[in-house]
């Protein structure tokens, strides 16, 4: 076999650097990367097709599970599109609660990214420290919404849970602690020599390239493009909150780190404003089951960039088409550009720098048969099947069902 100049190494789909399955075929000459091609689709579960077979409320449950880190972004984006079609005007308090949970999610997502970036360049202590601080935000999210991830706080026409004053107090305390932790990380990032060495000059993406390749979110803002959906196309309660759009001119991974930490500081001030300004009143509005004919495009500033949902309704209770375009899909084009003539050691940090979330990117789903005959699986038959499945394994739910039914009927 003629020893070709370039060694081709596959990175992924299972690779310690990548939290998720995507595969890059990298051709290497010595330590330099000469070409990189990306293969996605490992996470493709087909959520868009499944959305067409479920009602809007069931879709909400499914859309939230597109991505584990930005679940609130997807569910808010979807709900805003549906409310726009149905012409529902949600109460002001619900808009504020949605913005609050959105900012809390941005904090936990950026802290998570900081830890993963530290791990990618071998700085495990940073991973341990940032993830210890992240637990503070996770506890706040768990106490206010009931679950650490996949909060399920959105419903069509408003929010399902309210924030009581005692929780406000907890949130303010947590934000105080996290603020001086983030100040410590900012001073660390600007003074730690090995960190700066490993991050600066890596994954260069000039402003023109970023525009041409359609980069979004912190990746674009680190190349000097001041574009933030919260400012340009305000939704929820962002219209009456003031905050700065953080941009940076480093155009490399170091710039993205600074942009993300700047956004953390902005999130803290936004949350403080929300807690002060949150108006009273109801948190939800009655919404019809059948959404009238129409279509809507809704955009949301997810922690990774601009997340876009397109929903088309045909008057029934099921959407006609749901299109989800996740921020990672826009940033993935820029990765092969950033990888050109970089070192192999830079590959994990460059991929981590766009903070990829591939479970957002592949999401179409279709329902299929499990017992082989030709009709589609209805929800009811699925439930009966699961009861039967557990009965075969000696766990009989029918008595349990009877008891529950009796209690309901007596009440």
């Amino acid at each position: 076999m003629r020893y070709s100049k370039d060694v081709k190494i596959p990175i992924g789909p299972q690779h310690p650097a990548l939290k998720e399955p995507e595969s890059f075929l990298i051709s290497l000459r010595g330590e330099k990367i000469t070409a990189a091609s990306v293969r996605l689709g490992y996470n493709h579960r087909g959520i868009e097709k499944a959305c067409e077979e479920r009602t809007y409320i069931q879709d909400l449950y499914l859309i939230e599970r597109i991505c584990g880190i930005c679940s609130h972004s997807h569910s808010t984006c979807f709900v805003q599109a549906v409310e726009e079609i149905a012409g529902i005007e949600i109460p002001a308090r619900a808009r504020y609660v949605r913005t609050l949970i959105g900012e809390l999610e941005r904090i936990h997502s950026h802290l998570l990214w900081l830890g993963v970036a530290g791990h990618e360049i071998g700085f495990d202590t940073l991973l341990m420290y940032t993830w210890r601080d992240r637990e503070i935000v996770m506890d706040i999210l768990a106490s206010t919404t009931g679950n650490r991830v996949n909060y399920g706080i959105n419903t069509i026409g408003g929010v399902r849970r309210d924030i009581n004053p005692q929780q406000n107090q907890q949130i303010l305390e947590a934000v105080g602690i996290l603020e001086d932790r983030t100040k410590y990380y900012i001073s660390l990032a600007t003074s730690e020599s090995t960190l700066i060495n490993r991050l600066s000059g890596v994954g260069l993406l000039s402003m023109e390239d970023a525009k041409q390749l359609g980069a979004v979110g912190p990746v674009a803002r680190a190349s000097g493009i001041a574009r933030d959906v919260r400012k340009d196309d305000p939704y929820a309660a962002y219209a009456d909150l003031d905050f700065k759009v953080i941009t940076d001119s480093h155009c490399d991974v170091y710039g993205r780190t600074l942009v993300r930490m700047g956004e953390l500081m902005q999130s803290y001030s936004i949350i403080r404003q929300i807690i002060q300004k949150i108006p009273g009143g109801p948190i939800t509005v009655k919404s019809p089951r059948k959404i009238p004919v129409g279509e809507a495009v809704s955009r949301y500033e997810a922690p990774r960039g601009e997340d876009m949902h397109y929903v088309r309704a045909n008057g029934t209770e099921k959407p006609d088409r749901v299109k989800v375009r996740a921020p990672t899909l826009a940033n993935i084009q820029a990765v092969s550009k950033m990888l050109e003539d970089r070192y192999l050691a830079d590959l994990p940090i460059v991929i981590a720098a766009i903070d990829p979330c591939f479970s957002c990117t592949d999401r179409t789903i279709a329902v299929n048969m499990s017992d082989g005959n030709k009709n589609t699986l209805t929800w009811q038959s699925l439930r009966l099947q699961s009861l039967q499945w557990y009965r075969d394994r000696g766990v009989d739910f029918t008595e349990l069902n009877k008891k529950v039914m009796e209690r309901f009927s007596t009440k």
């Binding site: 998720e20 991505c67 584990g68 210890r132 637990e135 650490r148």
Partner: protein, 148 residues
């Protein structure tokens, strides 16, 4: 020989090395697995270390429904691991395919592809549940170890 047998089972309980593989999940469970290794939950107290290669690992932590494209990779990874090896399904998607069960591109739970030793339900499975799952798995190894 009993002493050596007992010592090996004891050592298997005390140093379970873990390899994490995301078979198409929404990466909420993967974040919780890594969160279980960080200071607040710190699985290293039980000797659990996240290893990078299948050669070094004993327990394969799978999270997510098995999508068609990743099925062959999952089997290949499982074959690379050295006996005695165990598979733990983390999260509802891994246990039964969860909300994605029955889709054209999804095989269903991990048990449709590999023999699974322990199931950790939850969407996502919280770090406490993951630690409880790993400890229960070690308990079952101990029980099967004594029986042998």
């Amino acid at each position: 020989m009993r002493i050596i047998e007992k010592m090996i089972t004891w050592s298997r309980l005390k140093s379970p090395w873990v390899l994490h593989f995301n078979t198409g999940a929404c990466n909420a469970c993967d974040i919780e697995i890594i969160a279980a290794l960080t200071p607040t939950y710190d699985m290293e107290r039980f000797g659990v270390v996240l290893k990078a290669t299948p050669r070094h690992a004993d327990i394969l932590l799978c999270s997510g429904p098995v999508t068609k494209q990743i099925e062959s990779r999952l089997i290949r990874i499982y074959e690379q691991m050295l006996n005695p090896k165990f598979v733990v399904a983390v999260g509802t998607c891994a246990c039964s395919g969860g909300v994605f069960n029955g889709c054209y591109n999804v095989e269903g739970g991990i048990n449709s592809v590999l023999p699974v030793a322990a199931y950790i339900p939850g969407c996502p499975a919280s770090p406490k549940a993951i630690i409880d799952g790993v400890v229960k798995l070690l308990g079952s190894i101990e029980a099967s170890g004594d029986k042998k």
